[in-house]
């Protein structure tokens, strides 16, 4: 039986060091929820608070309506997949998977049946009698997953389960994890600092920084309408350009380098006033036009051909640099030093206040806002 997880005003301290000052979060039943953030931001810490391996210095943790703060980790019915797999080296694959089942006083046949079922699910039944030492990294990871799932936990917790694998296997295994999660529909909390991985597997993502959650939302929302500058620059590539909002004749404009002004209709009504802002323009939100056409003037510094796309490194007339991604063309790559004009896909760009705390554009969805009132 899956549960939903509610965390209210969680506090974590190590000695006098506050790692998580005040964190609230809802994880829905059956969803694949990812904690994403830079190294040291407290992802593991939070995950282990849910698992019961870290003390909780403040706040409340609920599984459905049951407060679990003081519940013994043994009783929380959690499946956990560890970064280093934590496979018992002295037990065969099969016995590793059966380990948790044996603690439940199930009849022998049921243990055998369930072990089979999960060995098959993760596709390692042919290695069942092997010792873990003689398995590859990916196979060990599958054992870890099968072992965690075999106990039919209420919640599946995974702390960077793929970080010990090579790049290709990482992509392969994340698909496996996602598929299996879909199949059994278990509430899953996943930790990673790889944003691409997060986007690939998650239903929703919480972006963390320094113990605070910055934004919670579906991958698309985080990428297209980041709630603040941190999220904008942590997820995906982006060019940050200092700029100004100006209003004339009731129309809002943004100023781009070279005194080039573009009308912008996406700014929220209450923010439509003259003010300094920071623009976040992703490389694919700029497009190259031949010089002379209407657009921002810029010069190409370098070009990198990557197959599908070509990356251009450019600078504007005021010297500010930016990166652009264009679909590769058949004819030729633009030479270094070429002067170009740039068009802007205005509906896509994001505009932040000078502190980077707020996105001024309409359509920002941050599930975190649900709690800010309740705090």
């Amino acid at each position: 039986m899956s549960v939903d997880i509610r965390i209210r005003n969680a506090v974590k301290k190590y000695g006098d060091n506050t790692i998580i000052p005040d964190l609230s979060l809802d994880i829905r039943e059956g969803e694949f929820f990812t904690l994403l953030g830079p190294s040291g931001c407290g992802k593991t810490t939070l995950l282990r608070m849910i698992a019961g391996f870290n003390t909780i210095e403040g706040g409340d943790f609920f599984f459905n309506d049951v407060r679990i703060n003081d519940m013994d980790p043994v009783k929380r019915n959690i499946g956990m997949v560890f970064q280093n797999y934590a496979i018992f080296p002295h037990l065969t694959v099969e016995k590793n998977v059966a380990f948790g089942l044996k603690n439940r006083n199930l009849p022998k046949e049921e243990i055998a049946a369930k072990t089979d079922q999960f060995l098959k699910l993760v596709k390692i039944e042919e290695y069942r009698t092997r010792m873990p030492e003689r398995l590859s990294g990916g196979q060990q990871q599958r054992v870890a997953l099968a072992r965690a799932l075999a106990i039919t936990p209420d919640v599946l917790l995974m702390d960077e389960p793929l970080s010990n694998l090579d790049a290709k296997l990482r992509v392969e295994m994340r698909t496996v994890i996602k598929e299996i999660q879909n199949e059994i529909g278990i509430t899953t909390v996943y930790v990673t600092h790889d944003q691409e991985e997060a986007m690939a597997v998650s239903d929703r993502i919480a972006v963390m920084n320094e113990g605070d959650i910055q934004q919670i939302g579906i991958p698309k929302a985080l990428y297209q309408r980041p709630a603040n500058l941190f999220v904008a620059s942590f997820i995906g590539l982006t060019n940050l350009i200092t700029s100004r909002l100006e209003i004339s004749n009731g129309q809002t404009y943004i100023c781009l380098p070279g005194e080039y002004k573009i009308p912008l209709d996406t700014i929220r009504k209450e923010e439509r006033r003259a003010q300094d802002v920071i623009l976040s323009i992703r490389p694919e939100e700029l497009y190259v036009k031949p010089f002379g056409e209407d657009g921002v003037a810029a010069y190409v510094d370098d070009a990198v051909f990557l197959g599908l796309n070509t990356h251009y490194f450019i600078h504007f007339e005021d010297g500010e640099k930016a990166e652009i991604i264009q679909e590769s063309q058949i004819d030729s790559i633009i030479e270094k030093g070429t002067k170009i004009s740039l068009g802007v896909k205005t509906d896509k760009i994001n505009v932040f206040d000078t502190e980077g705390k707020r996105n001024l554009v309409e359509g920002v969805v941050n599930d975190l806002d649900a709690y800010s009132g309740a705090l």
Binding site: P73, M80, F82, N84, P89, H90, F99, G100, R104
Partner: protein
């Protein structure tokens, strides 16, 4: 230079040959002599009379079963005491845990017979506790015989189990325990079904070590065993009878001893091969604070066993300052025992250092060379060296002593009674441990570093001395200090080889204990203990931590 080298093979081949020759002389030849003397009569006939004499007498045969009983019991109890202690120590915040650990190490390093004699003085027929408790009507059972040997050996050996198990626990990744808890196993159940199996390879190794020590220890049963004769005591008696006459019998008993320990080793090997896996902790187990009754119980348990094990040493130090009259302690305190100790057996202290340091220096050089050959130049000859160097690990010390006497009592190899033979004995006995630790250190050093040096034009020897050895440095030094402690407390071989000129501190303690001069013995023992403590502090300084791993 290069041409000559490639013709003869490299320098390391020469080193292999030299070491092989050395082992042939100091180990293979003495053991071969021993075997020969045991089955060839002085007039040159093959005969199994020695074996017949041994197995024909219940008295002798019983000594084997006695020894096995004592050793098995001591091993089991040491494990039962030591493994939980290590678990508590690594898992929970114990009160004064640093001190606790230092005390445990000190216990493991003292000579067992000192424990035996302290327990006699405390709980023997006219022991202090016996009288005190007798005064209030409590009768303590006899400390002599099986029970006494078991008590002393267990208290001496559980610290070894502790140290080994701690090493294994440090290799367990915390997430393994968390995984177990997640899947519903915690507490005692987790200890029994996860922690113990994970430590099994180490526990089996520790069990062998403890068993061998218990089986080979002869000082303890000699002092406290009384009528309960164990096998090493028989070897010792046979040897001293042998100096009087029947050499064959002494040799026979020694060979029987080797056969028994070899069997034990094979049995252990069988089990350890079935429990083989490696672990490497990314996150070591973090100590937790236990609460309530549990906290009280684990603290009481830990401190109780350690206090019990350490009490003899405290008592020995205390009694070294007691006033004596003749061999008896009288009320009051004085330094007479020390005065006596420093004026008699004047050679004991300098000998201890002379013999110990010489043996240590040669042993380190040899061990490092052998470790290098074993790890980096694996070939048949070096495998032979590896095996040879480990042979003494399973041979009782007194047997080695007897083999050396048999081999080196005639010209041109007349060495008996010299410092040289003592040094050889110590090297043979202790080098297996030093080699193991050097091998472990060397395995941590990537081969590519040496290859880089070679590619930059350094010769093989230069690479070894300027790159490999310095990188092994700390590991070697810390290993050496621990070896040093075992060297200065070695008794069972030395007691067969020593004479008035080559007596050491440990032997001096033994001599005066067996003469009943407990005050003087205590003074020597205290000097020994202080030397041990200083060595241990040095070790902690060098390794920069408080954790001793064997």
């Amino acid at each position: 230079m290069r041409a000559t080298l490639s013709k003869k093979g490299d320098v390391w081949r020469l080193v292999s040959v030299l070491i092989l020759v050395l082992y042939a002389v100091i180990l293979v030849y003495p053991l071969a002599r021993l075997l020969k003397v045991s089955v060839i009569t002085p007039d040159g006939h093959f005969s199994l009379d020695g074996f017949r004499a041994f197995f024909g007498q219940r008295y002798y045969v019983r000594s084997i079963s006695n020894s096995l009983k004592v050793s098995v019991a001591a091993t089991v109890i040491s494990l039962l005491v030591g493994v939980p202690l290590a678990y508590f120590y690594q898992m929970y915040e114990l009160k004064g845990k640093s001190l606790l650990q230092v005390l445990i190490i000190l216990c493991s390093m003292s000579a067992p017979f000192i424990g035996a004699y302290a327990w006699i003085v405390l709980m023997g027929r006219s022991g202090i506790f016996t009288k005190l408790l007798g005064g209030i009507g409590i009768k303590v059972g006899s400390i002599y015989g099986f029970k006494g040997i078991l008590l002393v050996l267990t208290l001496q050996l559980f610290p070894l189990v502790f140290l080994y198990t701690c090493g294994a626990l440090k290799n367990i990744d915390n997430s393994l325990l968390e995984a177990s808890i997640n899947m519903g196993r915690s507490g005692t159940k987790m200890f029994l079904t996860v922690v113990i199996p994970l430590c099994m390879p180490t526990i089996i190794a520790a069990a062998l070590l403890v068993f061998m020590r218990a089986f080979a220890d002869f000082g303890t049963p000699l002092l406290i065993g009384e009528g309960y004769k164990t096998f090493p005591v028989i070897i010792y008696d046979a040897y001293f009878a042998e100096t009087g006459g029947n050499r064959m019998f002494g040799a026979t008993v020694s060979i029987i001893g080797i056969i028994i320990t070899a069997c034990i080793f094979l049995i252990q090997n069988y089990f350890s091969n079935r429990h083989k896996f490696t672990m490497n902790a990314m996150h070591t187990i973090e100590r937790k604070q236990a609460h309530g009754l549990k906290n009280v119980l684990i603290n009481v348990y830990s401190w109780f066993v350690v206090a019990l094990a350490f009490m003899p040493q405290v008592y020995v130090i205390y009694s070294s300052f007691q006033k004596t009259s003749g061999k008896l302690f009288v009320p009051g305190y004085s330094l007479d025992s020390y005065r006596f100790a420093f004026t008699h057996l004047k050679k004991a202290i300098p000998n201890t250092f002379k013999i110990g340091i010489t043996a240590l220096a040669i042993m380190i050089v040899l061990a490092v060379l052998i470790a290098y050959l074993v790890v980096r130049r694996s070939n048949f000859a070096n495998k032979v060296i590896d095996t040879l160097s480990m042979v003494p690990y399973i041979i009782p010390g007194s047997v080695i002593g007897i083999a050396l006497v048999l081999a080196f009592s005639k010209r041109p190899l007349l060495l008996t009674g010299t410092v040289t033979i003592m040094v050889i004995a110590l090297i043979i006995r202790r080098i297996p441990y030093t080699i193991r630790s050097s091998v472990a250190v060397l395995q941590q050093i990537p081969l590519s570093i040496e290859e880089a040096a070679l590619s930059l034009g350094a010769s093989k020897m230069k690479t070894f001395f300027t790159i490999t050895v310095p990188m092994m440095g700390n590991g070697i030094i810390s290993g050496a200090i621990l070896s040093w402690v075992t060297i200065i407390t070695e008794l069972s071989t030395a007691v067969i080889l020593y004479n008035a000129n080559t007596i050491t501190l440990t032997l001096a303690v033994y001599t005066y204990v067996s003469r009943g001069s407990y005050g003087v013995a205590a003074a020597y023992a205290t000097i020994l203990t202080v030397t041990t403590i200083i060595s241990l502090l040095l070790y902690m300084r060098v390794t920069g931590n408080k954790e001793v791993t064997l």
